[in-house]
C-alpha cells in the first residue's frame, strides 16, 4: 500500500455535539495528527451534503482511510461504510470515533474536558484507521433441503409448510409412526376434538407430499458441517443413511414425568393424566370420586418450573370425566390456576359450572394421600378437608427427553438446566439457535400446547427457509486467521467458540485449528483465549488495538 492518507470528518450533529464540544477546534486538531491529510467539520455528516463531501474528498484528496467523529456506529456505521464503498474505497477502511453517545451526551457540563476527551477519541480512531486493511465478504451455497427431527404435530406442521414452499424435507421420527405425543391423547382442549383426527389428517398430508421423505424408527447418529451444508447420518434399524441438508429443525417434543414414588403412584388407582386419557379413550373409567392433584413433581426444588399445559389438561379431563359419568364427583387440587389468554378463562368457568370442585393448596401444606382419602388444607376456606377417592390423578410436568442432551451434543447446541433446548435469545430469537442453520420449536424448547406448537412450527419453518430461499449465506469478513506455525492444536478455541465455527483438524503440519467462515460471527472469543497467540482477529488485530491504546496514552500536544 502506498502512503496512508486519512480524512477526518467531525460532525456537529446540530447542537448534540456542537453545543457541548468545540467542533471546529476538533477538526483543526485532527489535521495536526500524522497521516491526516484532510479534516473538516460538518453540521450533519450524515446528510446528503455531508456524504457528498466525504465522497468528493476520497476522490480529490486521494483519501484511503476515512474517520467520522460523530454519533454512534450502532446506527450510522453501515451508512458511512456504504458511502466509502460508493466512492470506490473498501468499506472496512472506515473508522468511527464515537464523540456523541460516548462523549458530548455524557459530559454536557464540562466543555473543555469533554473536548479533550473527544480529541483522544479522534486520535485513537486515526491511529487504528492507519492500520486497517481491506476485507472482502464471501458467499457459501445453501442446500435447499431441510432435516426435521421429530414427527409429532410440530415436526409435521413444519415439514409440510417447508414442502409447500418447494423445499425438500427429510422427516425423522423415533417411533414407528408419526404423531408423537398426540398419539397418547384422547381429546384436545378447548374444542374437545379428537387428537387422532388431527394426527390422521396431518399424517395423510405428509405422506402424500412428494417433497417429504419420512423415516420412522430412526434417529440422528451424527451431524457434521455448518449452515447450508450439513451432513447428517441417520440410523434406521440396521441401516445408516447420509443426508446432505442445508438446515436442521429440532421438533423432538418432550415427555411426561412418571411420578414414581409420589402419592402412591401405581398406574391403577393412582394414575397420570396420560393414563387417565387412555382410560377415557378406551371407555374403561370406573370411578365415582376422582381427586386430581396439580403440580406433582413440578414447581418444587428439583423442577422449579411450571409446565404450562397441566392446568388445562386437568380441566379438560375433569370435564370429560363428568361427561362420561355425570354423577362423578371431581376435585381439582391446585396451586395457581393457569388459564391464560382469551380462550381459557371461560373454559375454566365452564368447568366450574359442571360442578367440578376446585381447592387451592399451598406448597407448604401439600395434599396427603391416605388409605381411603386425600387430606388437603383448603387455603381459601382455611380448613382441612378429607376427600374420599376411587381414583387419584397426578398432573405431572412435561420433562425433556432423556436423550435431548445427547442430541444437543451432536448438533452442538445448548440445553437449559432442565434439559430443554436453549434458544439464541429469550425475547427476540425464540426459535433460532445461536448456531446458524439450526432451529427449534414446540415442546423441545419448552412445554407448549398444540396451538402454540403449531405457531412455533411455522415460525421455525420461516426462519429455516431464509437461508434456503436466498440460496447462499454471506460469510463474516471479520473472522479470525490462524497462524498454523504458532497453533499447537490444543483445541481451546474449539471449546470456547459458541457457534461451532472453529475446530481442530489433522493437517500436514499436525493438529491445527481451522475456521469455518460460514458459521463464524466474529466475536473474537477464540482469539482472546488462544494461549499461543496464534489467532489474529481480522479488523481487530492486536496491532490495531494496541495502536489505539498507545494513542490514548499520548499527551495532547
Amino acid at each position: 500500500m502506498n502512503e496512508v492518507r486519512v480524512g477526518v470528518f467531525v460532525c456537529h450533529c446540530g447542537t448534540n455535539i456542537g453545543g457541548f464540544l468545540d467542533v471546529p477546534g476538533l477538526a483543526k486538531y485532527a489535521l495536526s495528527l500524522s497521516n491526516v491529510v484532510f479534516a473538516k467539520d460538518n453540521q450533519y455528516t450524515c446528510s446528503e451534503a455531508g456524504l457528498t463531501e466525504i465522497k468528493n474528498a476520497i476522490d480529490e484528496k486521494k483519501l484511503n482511510r476515512v474517520v467520522v467523529a460523530s454519533c454512534t456506529p450502532r446506527t450510522h456505521e453501515p451508512l458511512f461504510r456504504s458511502t466509502c464503498k460508493d466512492a470506490g474505497l473498501n468499506p472496512y477502511l472506515f473508522q468511527f470515533a464515537n464523540i456523541r453517545d460516548q462523549c458530548s451526551w455524557v459530559h454536557m457540563q464540562d466543555r473543555d474536558r469533554a473536548t479533550e476527551k473527544a480529541k483522544a477519541l479522534i486520535r485513537m480512531g486515526v491511529a487504528r484507521a492507519v492500520l486497517l486493511e481491506p476485507l472482502e465478504e464471501t458467499e457459501v451455497e445453501v442446500n435447499p433441503c431441510a432435516l426435521v427431527i421429530g414427527g409429532g404435530i410440530t415436526g409435521m406442521t413444519c415439514a409440510l409448510s417447508l414442502a409447500n414452499r418447494g423445499f425438500e424435507v427429510k422427516l425423522i421420527e423415533n417411533e414407528d409412526r408419526l404423531g408423537g405425543t398426540l398419539n397418547s391423547l384422547y381429546k384436545l382442549y378447548p374444542t374437545h376434538e379428537e387428537a387422532s383426527r388431527l394426527v390422521q389428517e396431518k399424517t395423510k398430508e405428509v405422506e402424500k407430499n412428494p417433497k417429504i421423505e419420512v423415516l420412522t424408527s430412526s434417529e440422528v447418529k451424527e451431524v457434521e458441517g455448518f449452515v447450508g451444508n450439513y451432513d447428517v447420518t441417520v440410523r434406521q434399524g440396521e441401516k445408516e443413511r447420509l443426508f446432505k441438508v442445508g438446515v436442521i429443525i429440532v421438533a423432538t417434543g418432550a415427555e411426561t414425568l412418571k411420578p414414581v414414588g409420589m402419592y402412591g403412584y401405581d398406574g391403577k388407582t393412582f394414575v397420570t393424566q396420560l393414563e387417565l386419557e387412555r382410560m377415557l379413550k378406551e371407555r374403561r373409567l370406573n370411578a365415582d370420586t376422582v381427586v386430581i392433584i396439580q403440580c406433582v413433581g413440578s414447581r418444587n426444588e428439583k423442577r422449579a418450573y411450571c409446565s404450562k399445559v397441566c392446568c388445562l389438561t386437568a380441566l379438560k379431563n375433569a370435564m370429560l370425566i363428568k361427561e362420561a359419568n355425570p354423577n362423578a364427583q371431581v376435585f381439582v387440587l391446585y396451586r395457581d390456576m393457569v388459564t391464560q389468554g382469551t380462550k381459557y378463562e371461560d373454559y375454566y368457568g365452564k368447568a366450574r359450572e359442571t360442578g367440578i370442585t376446585f381447592i387451592k393448596y399451598s406448597p407448604e401444606r401439600q395434599p396427603v394421600v391416605e388409605n381411603k382419602s386425600v387430606r388437603i388444607y383448603d387455603e381459601l376456606l382455611g380448613e382441612e378437608l378429607s376427600l374420599p377417592y376411587d381414583l387419584v390423578v397426578l398432573s405431572t410436568p412435561m420433562v425433556a427427553h432423556n436423550d435431548s442432551t445427547d442430541l444437543a451434543q451432536k448438533l452442538k447446541v445448548p440445553v437449559d438446566e432442565n434439559g430443554f433446548f436453549l434458544e439464541a435469545h429469550v425475547k427476540l430469537r425464540p426459535v433460532d439457535f445461536a448456531t446458524d442453520g439450526i432451529y427449534v420449536c414446540g415442546c423441545a424448547h419448552w412445554p407448549a400446547n398444540v396451538s402454540e406448537s403449531i405457531s412455533q412450527a411455522y415460525g421455525a419453518a420461516s426462519r429455516a427457509s431464509i437461508p434456503m430461499s436466498v440460496g447462499h449465506v454471506k460469510t463474516e469478513p471479520l473472522i479470525p486467521v490462524v497462524d498454523e506455525d504458532e497453533c499447537s492444536g490444543c483445541g481451546l478455541c474449539e471449546l470456547t467458540c459458541p457457534f461451532k465455527a472453529i475446530q481442530v483438524e489433522e493437517t500436514e503440519k499436525g493438529r491445527k485449528a481451522k475456521v469455518i467462515a460460514a458459521s463464524c460471527k466474529g466475536c473474537g472469543a477464540c482469539g482472546a483465549g488462544c494461549p499461543q497467540r496464534a489467532i489474529t482477529m481480522r479488523h481487530f488485530t492486536n496491532e490495531q488495538l494496541v495502536a489505539q491504546v498507545i494513542a490514548l496514552a499520548e499527551v495532547t500536544p
Binding site: 422449579a304 391464560q340 382469551t342 378463562e345 437449559d416 435469545h425 412455533q456 430461499s469
Partner: protein, 430 residues
C-alpha cells in the same frame, strides 16, 4: 419463466409486524409495512426493560428498527392506514391512505432545532401523557424513520393559519406545509395483521381511583416513569409531589378476569408486575413492593425462577388477593383495601404509589379494520383464529400474529410473527 412472488402487506409496525416483515424480506419477498404512528416500534418501544432477562427493551428492539428501515425488500409506510381491501388470496388490491407528515422524510435530519422553537405544548402520547411535547416532534427518541413530524391537530399554522416558525429555523428546508394526504394502491398476495393492543382504561373501575388519585397509575405509565429516556429521566417519583416512591402496590387483573370488563386473562401482567417491582428495587434498594394477584401465572420459560428471584432478592411480597378498593390519605398516599381470606377481615395498606396492571385490549378502530379486511373478530374483538390453525384469520390469505389475536408476550409474538410470515410466504409462492 417463473412468476415472481407477490408482495405481502403487514399492518402494524410493532415487534410482531417488524419480525414478520424482516422474515419475509429476508426470504426475498417484497413487503409493505404499514404503521399508523409516525415511527415504527409499537408498544415494545415504550417498555423500559423486558422479563425474564431484564434486557433493555429499546436496546434490543432498535437494531430491528434499523434493519427494517434499510431492508431493500421492505417499504415503510408510516402515518398510514389501510382504507380498503378487495380481491382474494394471491391477488389483493389495497388502498392505502398516507397522511402528510409536513416534514420531508428524506431530508429531515432530526436535529430538533424546529421543536426548540415551536410554541405549542401538548401531552406526549408516547410518554403516556406524562410529559409535554411540541406540535413538531420526534415520535420518540430512537424512532424510525428518525425524522420530525408535525401534529396537524395542534400545529398553530395548520389549525389557525399563523406561525410557521419551525420553517424559519429549519436550516435544511425540510418543513413542507404543502404536503397533502395521498392515496396509494398496493397489489399484494397476502396480508398479515399485527396491530397489537391498547391498554384498558381503568377509570372504568371507579373504586381504584385512577385519575382521581394522582399516585394511582397504570403499568404502561410506570414503564415510562422508570425508563431512562422517559419523562422523569428514569427517576421513579410520585406524580403528586415528585418524592421517590418507596412502597409500591402492584394491583393485578385490572379489567382482566373481570365479569364486568374483560373475562379473559391478559397473560403478561403477572410477569411484567414482577419485572416492574424488580426495576424499582434496582433503582433504590429501599423499595418494598407488594403484588396483589389472583393466580400467579408464571408458565413461560424461566418465569417461575424469575418470580422466585423477585421474592428472594428484590424485596417483593406476593399477596393472593383481589384488591377491593383504593382510597387516599391526606398526603395523597394510596391506601389499598382487601379482604384477608382466612379471617374474612378487611385489611388495608398505605403505599407511596399504586400501579394498575391494566388488561390488554384490541386496538381502537380494529372493528373497522376487520370490516375492511373482511375477517371476523372474536367476542372480545381480537382477530378470530382456530386453535389448530392459529395464525390464519377467517379469510384465506390473511394471517395474524401478536397481541391483536390474543394477549401474548414478546417471545411468543415473535415466534407467531415468523409463523405468520411463513403462512404468507406459502400463500404467495404457491
Amino acid at each position: 419463466m417463473v412468476e415472481k412472488p407477490k408482495a405481502v402487506l403487514v399492518i402494524g409496525g410493532g415487534i410482531a409486524g417488524i419480525q414478520a416483515a424482516l422474515d419475509l424480506g429476508d426470504m426475498g419477498i417484497k413487503v409493505h409495512l404499514v404503521e399508523r404512528e409516525p415511527s415504527i416500534g409499537g408498544r415494545m418501544a415504550q417498555l423500559d426493560k423486558t422479563f425474564p432477562t431484564n434486557d433493555c427493551s429499546i436496546c434490543i428492539l432498535s437494531p430491528k428498527l434499523a434493519d427494517c428501515f434499510r431492508h431493500p425488500n421492505i417499504t415503510l409506510h408510516t402515518i398510514s392506514e389501510v382504507k380498503n381491501v378487495t380481491g382474494q388470496i394471491r391477488d389483493f388490491s389495497v388502498k392505502l391512505r398516507k397522511y402528510a407528515r409536513f416534514v420531508k422524510e428524506n431530508e429531515c435530519i432530526n436535529c430538533g432545532e424546529c421543536a426548540a422553537k415551536c410554541p405549542v405544548k401538548v401531552p406526549d402520547e408516547f410518554d403516556m401523557r406524562l410529559r409535554k411535547r411540541e406540535a413538531i416532534y420526534p415520535y420518540y427518541l430512537q424512532g424510525v424513520p428518525a425524522v420530525m413530524t408535525i401534529d396537524r391537530e395542534n400545529c398553530l399554522y395548520l389549525t389557525r393559519g399563523v406561525c410557521r416558525i419551525c420553517e424559519k429555523f429549519c436550516t435544511i428546508n425540510a418543513i413542507d406545509f404543502e404536503q397533502k394526504d395521498t392515496d396509494a394502491t398496493l397489489h399484494v398476495g397476502a396480508i398479515i395483521v399485527a396491530t397489537g393492543f391498547d391498554p384498558f382504561d381503568p377509570s372504568g373501575i371507579p373504586q381504584y381511583g385512577y385519575k382521581r388519585y394522582r399516585n394511582v397509575i397504570t403499568s404502561l405509565e410506570y414503564e415510562r416513569l422508570i425508563c431512562a429516556s422517559g419523562p422523569t429521566g428514569g427517576h421513579l417519583t410520585r406524580p403528586s409531589d415528585k418524592k421517590p416512591a418507596e412502597t409500591i402496590a402492584f394491583i393485578q387483573c385490572v379489567g382482566s378476569r373481570d365479569l364486568k370488563n374483560n373475562r379473559y386473562c391478559s397473560s403478561v401482567c403477572c410477569m411484567h408486575a414482577t419485572k416492574e417491582a424488580m426495576l424499582a428495587y434496582e433503582h433504590d434498594p429501599k423499595v418494598k413492593s407488594y403484588i396483589f394477584y389472583m393466580d400467579l401465572r408464571a408458565a413461560g420459560k424461566g418465569f417461575q425462577k424469575y418470580v422466585a428471584r423477585g421474592e428472594q432478592e428484590y424485596n417483593i411480597s406476593y399477596i393472593r388477593n383481589r384488591v377491593a378498593k383504593i382510597t387516599e390519605d391526606r398526603n395523597e398516599n394510596p391506601i389499598v383495601w382487601y379482604e384477608e381470606p382466612q379471617s374474612s377481615k378487611t385489611e388495608k395498606m398505605t403505599m407511596d404509589l399504586a400501579v394498575l396492571a391494566t388488561s390488554l385490549m384490541p386496538r381502537k378502530g380494529v372493528e373497522e379494520l376487520a370490516k375492511v379486511l373482511g375477517v371476523e373478530l372474536d367476542e372480545y374483538n381480537f382477530f378470530k383464529t382456530d386453535p389448530f390453525n392459529p395464525l390464519d384469520t377467517t379469510k384465506s390469505g390473511i394471517f395474524v400474529c401478536g397481541c391483536c389475536r390474543e394477549p401474548t408476550d414478546i417471545p411468543e409474538s415473535v415466534a407467531q410473527a415468523s409463523g405468520a410470515a411463513e403462512r404468507a410466504a406459502e400463500a404467495v409462492m404457491r
